[in-house]
Symmetry: C2
């Protein structure tokens, strides 16, 4: 009927029904566990932030085109956070005096961007953000790269399925100014050209490069440099290499964690040196799954203190696409372990007592809400994925017993009520 | 310096630093566990909803005064959800054909209301929502009431600390029309008067009542009825009592779960019969902690199907105030179990290897990021709440050993690397 309100969620946002939510939670819990094993502690913060914190440093695409803004009844201009890094930088600045740096923080939050919904892009996505604050050491990069491999491993991914590609804006600037000959005023433009490198045909890139003032020869040098891999680093002066933590890592035993790739740029303006992205290696889905980098000055928006940050945000959409593509999604967990079924209405109270005992013992236990035939309730318990049902019938109950049926084997036994929790524990084990 | 952006979160919203977040998560996890033991399954949904779904049924206060609204770049009028019930009703309607009713669903979401921040009121709060859809049976009420007592017990509350007060709009309407003599057109007004009953002095209530057309005698009868407790139900006709699930419960063994109280009204317009609130019994904090009720027609906004709902939302602010008042807040969890400390920079790689083994064994393990003196790192590990440190020194390491120090007892031992995980497991046990 036309007077009903629409049931679809707002375009680009998602309802998560229990089955899907169960899959998501299993994956997220594995990730939380790994992150916490590295000593990262969880925090949280508001969805609404002052709009200006994104206008300062997130980059024009986000601030001008993708930000959801609103004005509250008191006239304050607010935004739904499009990403977490400015928020966490704000929180670090606010609490710098009581924190013992370096700190390792993580969160799991939803972010909003006004995008045209398409594969891998939604308007509300959930992301895990992992950041370290207060250290310039290459140990920070190494730890985060190690963590990422452990996270991928925890959700079932092996190193042949993905690659961690990293660059350093310091190295890239060295290449662009020293080798290609890009003037300082054109660095941003040429970086954005590199950011598009894998998405556009060569002619288009050459044309765009010419528009930025690159001569054919310069474009040729750019192309050669981007293809050269780590060898290009040999052509950079020592004082550039020395400023790069990534260059240090590439010369250490930790080099196995990462693949140098000058094509990695990332759009956020706040990154200052190391930037990285994790790519799916599947040729059918050769996409960036998530990424991050080092931002040495972002806390400076909020504070006099210089507190460098390094971190990444792992969004749910690309991650779950990746897991799905590679057959790594877990099954939804059964909705309940045990169903306690009274055979008539006078036994509901008895059934609730029995269910209470089983819940006390830790079992997820349901009791029917509507009186229905036993057969129907057995079918329902089976569909819910329960392993056992406990049937409470009048004669058994008056003798202090119930009947336990194993839904997988179909075996059935009469059990004395006090020993029921043990019977169920053994049956579920 | 004045050019810095402010570090405070938006007024009425909160940053949760890791220590506080740890406390919150411990409490929430206990609640999730209890809810799931009753067979409720978790779902989630978007923060942004079409504004009209609140304008229809949430009540004027929310829709006109408290809603955060915005218009997206495509011209759609949206709201940040102020509560979850309309969203979950929408999702149930959207998926009614594939669900096996009755269903038990829960979520944990943030909601926004534009309120003047004060004790117990914020603009962004987190709430656990628990709902059952598809049954009119009193078993639904009984199960939710049982669940609430189990949830309160799981966070350490005993029955002397709180009371579950319930009413039924069917019974209240019976009292107002049959006993007090309120005309049908005035029921809403008089209900809102009852909703204010405990917050205003008698004279004010009498004056407001007079303004609604209540004679002195009617006001006297209203006052007497509201004070009479369950006895008033004896004065209602049988056909009213028969329509009330709450009245059935009050005549059953489940009556211990709940206290009848005609003062409980609740502001949401969508409630149709049972309504309830859980109150702190502490005289210093005699407030409603959370509440809910039965809404038989809300899904009907979105669908032809009649799917009755019953549920409640438990907000974090009042809950944590309650736990704090009663001394029930858990301590933050230590940030790490073990700190592995290399005594010089050349041993970082070794320290990372050792840490990797301990993480594999499930221990939350840190390695320093910045080279610092051993004493400083020991102090840091202690402050983080670690129980043990593993010291990696050059001579020990070349002999295949490390030193384990128990931070509580101060005892220290040299351990062969392969047996380290076992040593740490025993030490942490």
């Amino acid at each position: 009927m036309s007077q009903h309100l629409p049931t679809a969620p707002y375009r680009g946002t998602r309802d998560f029904l229990p089955g899907e939510m169960s899959v998501r939670q299993q994956v997220f819990h594995r990730l939380y566990e790994v992150i916490e094993r590295f000593g990262f502690v969880r925090y949280d913060g508001p969805i609404l932030e002052s709009a200006e914190i994104y206008e300062a440093k997130s980059g024009r695409e986000i601030a001008d085109l993708q930000l959801y803004t609103l004005t509250d009844r008191g006239g304050r201009r607010l935004a739904l956070r499009p990403e977490m890094t400015p928020s966490v930088a704000r929180m670090i600045a606010a609490n710098a005096n009581k924190l013992q740096f370096p700190v390792r923080w993580y969160c799991h939050v939803n972010c909003h961007r006004y995008e045209r919904p398409q594969r891998g892009r939604v308007r509300e996505h959930w992301q895990i953000n992992v950041d370290t604050f207060g250290s310039d050491s290459a140990n920070v990069e190494i730890e985060i790269f190690e963590l990422i491999h452990e996270m991928m491993s925890a959700v079932g991914a092996t190193r042949d399925m993905y690659v961690l590609r990293a660059n350093d804006r310091i190295l890239l600037e060295g290449i662009l100014t020293g080798i290609v000959g890009v003037p300082a005023g054109r660095l941003k433009d040429v970086s954005s050209l590199i950011d598009r490198w894998e998405k556009y045909p060569r002619e288009q890139l050459a044309e765009d490069g010419a528009g930025m003032g690159l001569s054919d020869e310069q474009f040729g040098r750019l192309e050669a440099s981007l293809k050269a891999g780590e060898e290009i680093l040999g052509d950079l002066p020592a004082e550039v290499i020395e400023r790069s933590q990534l260059a240090k890592i590439l010369q250490s035993p930790a080099r196995d964690l990462v693949t140098f790739d000058p094509l990695i740029v990332r759009a956020f303006e706040y990154y200052t040196s190391t930037v990285f992205e994790v790519f799916d290696r599947d040729p059918a889905n050769n996409r960036s799954l998530f990424g991050g980098g080092r931002y040495s000055d972002l806390v400076g928006l909020f504070s006099d203190k210089r507190i460098p940050g390094f971190g990444f945000g792992m969004g749910d959409v690309t991650l779950f696409d990746f897991l799905d593509t590679h057959g790594l999604l877990p099954k939804p967990r059964p909705e309940a372990d045990v169903a306690v079924i009274p055979t008539d209405e006078s036994l509901y109270e008895a059934a609730r007592t029995v269910a209470g005992q089983l819940r006390q013992a830790g079992h997820r236990t349901t009791v029917p809400l509507e009186p229905r035939k036993l057969g129907k309730e057995l079918g329902r318990a089976d569909k819910a994925g329960a392993s056992a049902v406990v049937i409470v019938g009048p004669e058994d109950w008056s003798a202090g017993n119930v009947v336990v049926r194993h839904l997988v084997t179909g075996e059935q036994q009469t059990v004395n009520v006090p020993s029921l929790p043990d019977t169920i524990r053994d049956l579920l084990a």
